[in-house]
């Protein structure tokens, strides 16, 4: 059996096959500190809440951290920001380990193959994903999985572009980052991330309306449709405006990066996934912007992922499954696939000639 795990800024999601179904286990990537007292502990035990006891106090994990944040009038914190765990937040590692453990469960067989997603290096912020990648890999290895890592954008392609020979552009608009990968026949030619996503919208809207960020996030997730007609006084207008700005920013950055490579002369389909692609109207906004900007590659079809929140986890599952079958038949190994930078570019150039 194989598993796929999407470790995101906001959600940690595991995908696995169970008979005829694909099952997704989802948990918020969050925690909340509370002062330790027998009363609170009692209360949490009764309500069946998972928590960690530390010297400093207790920490609630995942979804519960959110639920109880309002009750205790505290803020839920996040172990990760902008798609990665930062080396400065070492205290968050045990928390993430616990969440990952609970979401992933124990391996069902020895050396069960697991693919985890990782963001690519961002183009607009000075940030290195390497520490994050290694840490997450180590967490999963610690659980005795045969662990491999792929780019989030590539996972989107694996999940949604099987009918296009895994050639195309996969985009995941998440909370902390937007990840983009361009692949040709299943091999990434270009992978990068952009330091803006759902969180950026929340921040901007919060700044311009004065509403607390959590409130904006909540409102954003409830919004029925991104449209130009909005009620006066509601933050919906601001949300639409910043959604538009985000989309423009993504498309501009994509175009800029495309100038640096010479992809094969084929028409590429584009898929958008990620939690921030959920609201109605987002896809239309994205499609319009992409069609109107003169992209440096030809675009064939623009597609919305079927279940944007789960796409990355599903792509990881497909990669894991392929690897496992391959191991059985000693076939191709997916781990060899990496963006080879310049050499790959040159190859692509040769091909296009």
């Amino acid at each position: 059996m194989a598993k796929g795990l999407d470790i995101g800024t906001m959600n940690i999601i595991c995908a696995e096959k169970e008979g005829e179904d694909v099952v997704f286990m989802q948990q918020r990537n969050a925690f909340m500190n509370l002062d330790s007292s027998d009363l609170t502990k009692n209360m949490l035990d009764i309500s069946k809440v998972l928590y960690i006891e530390e010297e400093k106090g207790i920490s609630l994990l995942g979804e519960d951290a959110f639920k109880f944040a309002t009750i205790f009038e505290k803020e839920a914190r996040r172990p990760m920001s902008h798609g990665i765990i930062s080396p400065r937040e070492k205290e968050a590692i045990p928390i993430m380990k616990l969440i990952v453990e609970r979401v992933l469960g124990q391996p069902r067989s020895k050396n069960e193959v697991l693919y985890i997603s990782t963001p690519a290096n961002p183009v607009d912020t000075d940030m290195d994903v390497l520490y994050h990648k290694k840490t997450m890999e180590a967490l999963a290895r610690g659980l005795n999985y045969d662990t491999h890592v792929i780019d989030e954008g590539l996972a989107v392609i694996y999940s949604e572009l099987s009918d296009y020979n895994f050639t195309g552009i996969g985009i995941s608009v998440g909370a902390g980052l937007t990840n983009v990968t361009l692949a040709y026949l299943g091999t990434p030619l270009m992978s990068f991330s952009i330091g803006r996503g759902g969180d950026w919208i929340d921040e901007q809207v919060s700044k311009s309306t004065g509403l607390p960020k959590e409130h904006v996030t909540h409102r954003k997730e409830q919004i029925s449709k991104l449209s130009k007609q909005v009620k006066i006084g509601s933050p919906d207008g601001a949300i639409t405006i910043y959604y538009n700005a985000l989309v423009t920013y993504i498309v501009q950055n994509l175009n800029k990066r495309l100038a640096e490579i010479t992809p094969p002369k084929v028409a590429f389909p584009v898929v958008v996934a990620g939690g921030s692609a959920l609201p109605e109207g987002f896809f239309e906004m994205f499609e319009k912007n992409l069609r109107e900007s003169k992209l440096r590659v030809e675009i064939s079809k623009i597609k919305r992922a079927r279940d944007p929140l789960y796409t990355v986890a599903r792509g990881c599952l497909i990669a894991a499954k392929t690897q496992e079958e391959g191991k059985r038949r000693a076939g191709p190994s997916l781990t060899e696939q990496k963006v080879e930078g310049k050499t790959e570019k040159k190859k692509a150039q040769k091909k296009s000639k």
């Binding site: 169970e18 694909v22 997704f24 286990m25 035990d45 960690i52 995942g62 045990p94 290096n121």
Partner: protein, 281 residues
């Protein structure tokens, strides 16, 4: 972007690897004068042929003039061409010698025609003229070929690469790329240990797994076939069947890519081998 600093060694250089000399503009003009004069003479000769309706039994001096005009004209044209193109040093000697041979042939013709125009001499003169003609023609051809070789992009590209200047931005990017690569290769050998967290104490409630569970089932086959008749090709299977199908396709694509790569690589190797051998010879 890098700028080309390649200079055109054909017009400016003092000489080149193939030995072609720099040719002054004056020689070019002299050459073109020769060429034009030649054309005029040939035209005149041709006109004679038509006006006098030259045939075997025509008047002797008419035949002589026609032959002289045509012969001199052709030689002049060839000399002109030779002077107009770039020559090696040897080339100029060849032009001189062959021009002399042709003129000699024409001179002998002019002085001996009619009085002394019998069998052995005719063939000698003709042979002499043909030799001159062929030498001029061959010389022009050889030098043009040399010029084309020199002009061919082969050596030019190499020169361009050597003198390509890099902008700071490009250098910076290359450095960053190299650094990133070195970090990545070192890091891929590195393994983080996660057991230094001490023991985490959990509350009473500690399930093995917990989280929000979502199940995706594939449509049962009847519905799928119905859907397909309505929208052919739209197999929207996202569940287990879809995952299996996608991973099979992925394996196939990877396999295909691997084979392609191997073929391509083999092809490249063969070409390189050949090319390498040729170079060594």
């Amino acid at each position: 972007m890098g700028s080309e600093m390649h200079e055109d060694s054909l017009t400016e250089g003092k000489g080149s690897s193939t030995g072609l000399l720099r040719r002054g503009l004056s020689i070019y003009y002299v050459g073109s004068m020769f060429f034009v004069a030649g054309i005029a003479l040939v035209a005149l000769g041709s006109a004679f042929v038509m006006i006098f309706q030259i045939h075997y039994g025509s008047e002797a001096d008419k035949i002589l003039y026609t032959a002289l005009f045509l012969g001199t004209g052709i030689t002049l044209i060839l000399i002109g061409i030779n002077l107009m193109i770039k020559q090696t040093k040897k080339g100029y000697y060849v032009v001189g010698v062959s021009a002399f041979i042709s003129s000699l042939a024409l001179l002998i013709l002019a002085t001996n025609y009619l009085h002394n125009w019998y069998y052995p001499l005719i063939s000698y003169v003709l042979a002499l003229y043909v030799i001159g003609f062929l030498m001029l023609l061959g010389n022009a051809f050889a030098n043009v070929t040399l010029w084309i070789i020199e002009k061919s992009p082969g050596p030019m590209v190499r020169e361009e690469r050597l003198t390509k200047t890099y902008t700071d931005e490009e250098i910076q990017r290359d450095i960053e790329e190299a650094t990133r690569k070195s970090i990545e290769t070192t890091a891929s050998g590195l393994q983080f240990e996660v057991d230094d967290m001490g023991d985490i104490k959990l509350g009473k409630y500690s399930p093995k797994t917990c989280g929000l569970i979502t199940r995706i089932k594939d449509d049962i086959s009847e519905i799928i076939s119905l859907k397909q008749t309505m929208a052919p090709g739209a197999t929207d299977k996202w569940g287990s069947i879809g995952v299996d199908k996608a991973s099979t396709q992925l394996a196939e694509t990877m396999m295909q890519k691997k084979v392609e790569k191997r073929l391509f690589e083999g092809f490249k190797e063969r070409i390189l081998k050949r090319f390498g051998k040729q170079k060594n010879n």
